[in-house]
């Protein structure tokens, strides 16, 4: 009886720690008693001021931008401590899906180093492994709370997979992680760049047969690869202006490739 209470107290404490990263979970901080009666139903909602106070609570004392943020993550269901490295999306002990921790970036989800060159072939395997644990279809017999977590985690893993798989989106994501803000509204008027793109798009439009389209496609792919390498070098040198410039060019080449694919 006492052991059970102790176990419940421990899990309630770990639950409180997760409150700030779990918008779905609503809880009154000054009334711990509801936690001690285990139930899978929705807890009563709290007003916004209390919620703000909750968000100000110290979170295990680690800064948000630390790469491994799992030093004090533990399962809300069984209290088991999460892994010391790698993303804690589902509990290794009881299998419960964990709430989304947005401080965990996409590279951590896939257990990859935060860099532009990654093993693209490995992505699919890891993605499928995660979905075997997180997919909403697998939790339809679980609680509403866990279903909510599964929906969010699964969606986040899909986002991560798509972002990392495509070189341009991976590049832009890396810039975002470096807090480089690219002004989307800005127009460019670099005449050389624009003339090249204009001529490229005109060539695609005027191409009369698939042979010429394939020729243009291979030329554009080569340019994309070359600028992709330039991006990698610029990022390594922390030359963010050049890096942004590279991504802009890559975007234009990708658009041209999309148009070619449509025509083929």
């Amino acid at each position: 009886m006492w052991n059970r209470r102790k176990h419940l107290l421990l899990s309630s404490l770990s639950l409180l720690r997760h409150i700030s990263s779990t918008p779905l979970l609503r809880l009154h901080p000054l009334k711990p008693s509801p936690l001690l009666s285990p139930s899978n139903s929705f807890l009563p909602p709290i007003d916004s001021q209390l919620r703000n106070n909750l968000l100000d609570l110290p979170r295990c004392g680690f800064p948000r931008n630390l790469s491994s943020s799992n030093s004090c993550s533990s399962c809300w269901n069984c209290g088991a401590v999460g892994p010391t490295s790698g993303a804690f999306l589902a509990c290794g002990s009881c299998g419960a899906v964990q709430p989304v921790d947005s401080s965990v970036d996409y590279f951590q989800i896939f257990g990859m180093k935060k860099m532009y060159e990654i093993e693209e072939g490995d992505l699919e395997g890891i993605y499928k492994d995660w979905q075997k644990k997180l997919h909403p279809d697998l939790v339809h017999s679980k609680s509403e709370k866990e279903k909510g977590f599964a929906a969010e985690q699964s969606a986040r893993v899909i986002d991560a997979y798509r972002t990392l798989k495509n070189p341009l989106s991976r590049a832009l994501y890396l810039l975002k992680l470096e807090q480089i803000h690219v002004d989307e509204e800005k127009t460019v008027s670099d005449p050389d760049l624009l003339m090249e793109m204009m001529e490229m798009r005109e060539a695609v439009e005027e191409a009369k047969d698939t042979q010429s389209l394939y020729e243009i496609q291979s030329k554009v792919k080569k340019k994309l690869d070359s600028w992709s390498n330039s991006f990698k070098e610029a990022l390594n040198k922390q030359d963010f202006d050049s890096a942004v410039n590279c991504t802009q060019r890559m975007k234009y080449y990708e658009r041209a490739l999309e148009e070619i694919t449509k025509k083929l």
Binding site: E184, E185, T187, V188, S189, L194, M198, R201, Y252, R255
Partner: protein, 168 residues
């Protein structure tokens, strides 16, 4: 059972359309945008080297759009007598540049510099996410005028030097 459900559904949709005749249930392109896309005005190219032609070439790197807007200017009056465009981009970008070529025709160069992207956007009922397309069109107009002026200045200076040579 199905028929009953069907019958129940029909009056509901009828009420919806009757009660809210202007409700757009899905976000669509405005009919003006569709019109400009299907019947684009002034698509084409002028000779870039022509001294009466100003070429504005602008791009939006975020979406990979390219827009070329050209104006033909009457050198004596400074009026824009003709305009054409070529745009690779979304429907809103194409429509914005098409509208721009229509609006600049018959106007003086100083006048067209005051055409604002907000006017184009309002005319086409562009949603917020497509406002940058109208900005692109405004920038294209300005670039075309700037190009013409710089050409004029270059030609003007070369004309100024030749009489001296003739005198000498």
């Amino acid at each position: 059972m199905l028929r009953l459900v069907g019958k129940r559904l029909v009056p509901q949709t009828q009420v919806q359309t009757l009660g809210t005749p202007t409700l757009r249930l899905r976000r669509r392109y405005h009919e003006r945008v569709v019109d400009h896309y299907n019947n684009p005005r002034n698509v084409g190219s002028f000779d870039k080297e022509d001294p009466t032609v100003g070429t504005g070439l602008v791009g939006a790197p975020a979406c990979g759009d390219v827009m070329k807007l050209q104006i033909k200017v009457d050198q004596h009056s400074g009026k824009i007598v003709d305009a054409c465009f070529k745009t690779f981009g979304c429907g809103s970008a194409i429509a914005s540049s098409s509208v721009a070529t229509e609006w600049v025709k018959g106007k003086h160069m100083e006048e067209v510099l005051s055409i604002k992207n907000t006017e184009i956007a309002k005319h086409l009922s562009l949603p917020p996410v497509k406002l940058h397309c109208s900005m692109l069109a405004e920038d294209a107009i300005k670039a075309a005028v700037k190009d013409y002026e710089s050409k004029k200045a270059k030609n003007g200076s070369s004309d100024a030097s030749s009489p001296k040579v003739a005198e000498a």
